[in-house]
């Protein structure tokens, strides 16, 4: 099946989509969005500095039609979400987003109801578009670099005025082997300072639930959950997190969840391997103290 990946120049995201493309057979072509050196392993590689979806949709539609691509793959990301669905509509082709599993057919799996159910679909025609949920497929190690040809964009509908990266110190959430996440149960933004100290001692990253982000205690960029970051650490500390299904959907691939919550009925304990029913303000300092002692 003639396959096209559309993704920003990011080795981790490209590696995951490359793995997905193998289900469709042929070496995939790539439309690389943004500046930077594109890793190797692809067939034909097009590149544009443009990253704003609405400015890319029409040239992409033209490319797909002229080259006869059958499977078009995006990640479930800002760029994927900006382009995939209007592109599908423009081409009148099926789109299945948030893919978490693929089998021959192609048969794909995606979550429903905030991850409380999993649906299986068979795509009955080509071309089609899928968007792939982050951290659900192994990353292919892409070696070397690709030669690129420019993808021309005209008629800009959007203008990028500013882009500000939220500074998150340390290891990126998606790659961290230990994640320490705080929820509304922390009670204030101050609680996150304590979580940061714990995360640093464990060489991990700090996350937040939607509730904590809505309270303004943590930036949206560290939100873990269905519409935030999808993480897959070895250990996930959920501290003051109730465990709404939309949050749990972001930690499906966490190997071990530790729940720390004052409410023993909290839903997080249904996902946790280890649970501590106590005020986090007492538990987290104890963990910090023991970790410091062990490091001496």
């Amino acid at each position: 099946m003639k396959t096209l990946i559309v993704e920003i120049v990011d080795p981790a995201r490209l590696g995951e989509l490359y793995t997905v493309s193998k289900f469709f057979g042929e070496t995939p072509d790539l439309v690389a969005l943004g500046k930077g050196e594109v890793p190797g392993g692809f067939g034909k590689v097009y590149q544009t500095e443009e990253i704003l979806g609405a400015n890319i949709i029409e040239p992409l539609a033209d490319l797909i039609k002229s080259e006869g691509y059958e499977a078009i793959i995006f990640s479930s990301s800002t760029e994927g979400n900006s382009i995939a669905s209007p592109l599908a509509s423009l081409l009148s082709i099926p789109i299945l987003p948030e893919v978490i599993g693929i089998e021959e057919g192609p048969v794909i799996k995606k979550p429903l109801y905030g991850g409380k159910a999993i649906a299986t679909y068979k795509i009955e025609t080509t071309p089609f578009i899928i968007t792939v949920r982050r951290n659900c497929f192994e990353k292919e190690e892409l070696k070397g670099k690709s030669e690129t040809v420019p993808l021309e964009t005209k008629d800009k509908k959007l203008e990028l005025l500013a882009e500000r990266e939220e500074k998150v110190e340390g290891i990126p959430l998606e790659e961290a082997q230990v994640v320490v996440t705080g929820g509304r149960g922390l009670g204030s933004a101050d609680g996150f300072k304590m979580l940061k100290e714990l995360a640093d001692l464990l060489n991990g990253a700090v996350g937040a639930s939607r509730g904590a982000v809505d309270e303004g205690w943590a930036p949206p960029q560290i939100q873990v959950g269905q519409t935030g970051k999808i993480v897959a650490p070895n250990v996930y500390f959920a501290i003051g997190v109730s465990g709404a299904s939309q949050h749990l959907a972001g930690i499906t691939n966490a190997k071990c969840v530790v729940g720390i919550n004052i409410d023993e009925e909290a839903n997080i304990f249904k996902r946790a391997k280890f649970g501590i029913v106590e005020d986090y303000k007492k538990v987290v300092p104890a963990l910090i103290e023991v970790l410091k002692e062990e490091k001496v």
Partner: protein, 251 residues
């Protein structure tokens, strides 16, 4: 300024996984129906725009007639008018085509808003499909909108930070949560007035669905049993937890 917010009524998303139940691949009817998680953020953004620009805000929905009482919350929050297209398809093209029909009935709409994704099908594709059908510029994951003389500036949340994006003309923005768009609680007088507001009901159109067959919907098995650690001596609890995590090679 004419503003439309698309809102969907869904089974209560707060229902924990342990209580969740399916009938014929869809959530059991016994669950309370509510307006979608992000749709309420979209309504709040719509209300803020309306208040700032003295605009008109129409709530448009595709769904069941018996969901009208639930949708009235959107009116109480600040909607001026409501159109419901009656239908129950889950196909994103069918939903978008019906929303388009309702939006065109509103007239000359400047800005359409929708939640970034519904809380039942978890797709987030209807807003983009609808934008393309309407010929509107689409920007997803927006938290704030400033509009002036046909131009607009939006804040988009990305994986790494935020973008400020400028555009002009008719546009559809899908809205994500942010402290600035947490829905305000409507005053009682508006809740009461919303109950009397007439709702325009439309029959659905039935365009072709996309060529995808739903094979199954299942509840994933969760076979984790939580081991609760003793809490009499929390330093001892911490030591015990770290020891277990190391022994089982998680750390």
């Amino acid at each position: 300024m004419n503003i439309v917010v698309c809102a969907k009524v869904v089974p209560d998303y707060e229902v924990p996984a342990s209580d969740f139940e399916l009938v014929n691949g869809r959530a059991h009817e016994r669950f309370t129906r509510v307006i979608g998680l992000y749709d309420e953020n979209a309504i709040e953004v719509g209300v803020q725009l309306k208040e700032k620009h003295n605009g008109n805000l129409t709530i448009v929905s595709y769904g069941r007639e018996d969901d009208i009482p639930v949708l009235r919350k959107a009116i109480a929050m600040g909607g001026d008018k409501m159109i419901l297209v009656i239908g129950q398809s889950d196909d994103p093209y069918v939903i978008a085509e019906n929303l388009k029909m309702a939006i065109e009935k509103v007239g000359d709409v400047d800005i359409v808003l929708a939640g970034r994704q519904s809380a039942d099908m978890d797709r987030g594709v209807v807003p983009g499909i609808l934008a393309a059908m309407l010929g509107y510029t689409f920007v997803p994951q927006v938290t704030k909108i400033e509009s002036l003389n046909g131009e607009w500036k939006v804040t988009q949340v990305t994986e790494k930070g935020v973008r400020e994006i400028k555009g002009k003309g008719k546009a559809l923005f899908s809205i994500t949560d942010d402290p600035s768009n947490v829905p305000r609680i409507p005053p009682v007088r508006r809740i009461l007035a919303a109950k009397k507001m007439p709702v325009e009901k439309l029959e659905e159109v039935k365009p072709t669905s996309m060529a995808v067959e739903e094979l199954s919907v299942e509840i994933p098995k969760m076979e984790i049993k939580c081991e609760f650690l003793p809490t009499e001596d929390l330093k001892e609890t911490a030591r015990m937890l770290l020891k277990k995590l190391k022994e089982e090679r998680y750390l």
